[in-house]
Amino acid sequence: MSPIGQCLAAFVFGSVAGLLVQRSRFCNTAALRDAMLFKTYRNTKALLVCMMILTIGFTAFITVGEGHTMHFDVGVNQMLGLFLFGIGMVLAGACTVSTWVKAGEGNVGAIWALLFTFIGMFLFSLIWSYSYWPPAPGSMDHLPHLEALQFGYANAATLQAKTGIPAIFFGLFQFLVLFGIYRAILRKEARMAEANT
């Protein structure tokens, strides 16, 4: 697909996603924060259902060699980075999606959070230019480099290549784990509703 076609597809997808998120008031931050703080699971259930559909969809296409998987090596930086991100999104009251969506509703706090997300990214670019860690995508070779706290590259496609088992089977296993969590939430909600009556 040409770069213009890619940008157009991305804009159409983003527009529909933004509209649906705005109309449903879905928030990824709330999916985690509300489950932890308030024991409410409205957003958590939506997150889990979405992940279940995506797991089956992605691994089914990976099985037949289709789809554009994310290609970069992973390591401790993913854990540390998302740890900082997790603190940040709860403090800001919005994640990457809801900052854009709330900004579109006229939320000045969300616009401010976006501005400082950009500033945070620029600050990190200065730190990276001094430390050169984590390794740049161009220097990644998909192998583990424990001295750099990097574990290499592994996903459903590499699992299929190494074991000979179709990726969809691993996807079904992950689907069942996610479904188990979803069902546990439904049961918990039923118990809470029973206790309140």
Partner: protein, 163 residues
């Protein structure tokens, strides 16, 4: 139109988004936001700094500013879709945080999100709607990080609200 009169069930909304995300996965790549935001940061920095930006290796090696980077348009699309949804449902109005503590939390939160995304190479969207459904090892590392971070953030949030 009914869609703009009452709130949509998030399970239905996210199920539709999941199907569209599978289509995106086939044509260009799964839903992500952090990469586009980084490119926007680079383009804004280039606007202000010009060729001086090339002296910062990150913007030469990792993210060369490029306005045709498709991920930028997911974010711009989300903003557009949200504005349309907010206006048609009459939910658009300016909301301004009232307390200094809110401004401080949003500022610190925004900075941590920006630093965290670049340190991890991924955001929450890539974590939940890209990497993990692809069963990428990075997805599991990211999920463990974001859950721990959200827990710590919730403790801080609770303390600030309680205070």
């Amino acid at each position: 139109m009914e869609l703009f009169k009452k709130t949509l069930d998030p399970v239905i909304a996210l199920s539709i988004i999941a199907l569209l995300d599978i289509f995106m996965f086939l044509v260009v790549g799964a839903w992500t936001v952090g990469g586009g935001e980084t490119m926007m940061t680079g383009l804004i920095a280039k606007f202000f700094m010009g060729d001086q930006l090339q002296h910062i290796p990150f913007w030469d090696i990792v993210f060369k500013p490029d306005a045709t980077y498709w991920k930028i348009y997911i974010s711009l699309g989300m903003l557009f879709g949200s504005i349309v949804g907010a206006f048609l449902s009459k939910e658009f109005y300016w909301r301004i945080p009232r307390h200094l503590s809110e401004w401080v939390m949003i500022t610190v939160g925004g900075l941590l999100m920006g630093i965290g995304i670049r340190l991890a190479f991924v955001c929450n969207v890539s974590t939940f709607f890209g990497l993990t459904p692809e069963m990428n090892l990075g997805g599991y590392l990211s999920i463990s990080g974001i859950i721990a971070g959200a827990w710590v953030g919730s403790l801080i949030y609770k303390k600030v609200l309680g205070g």
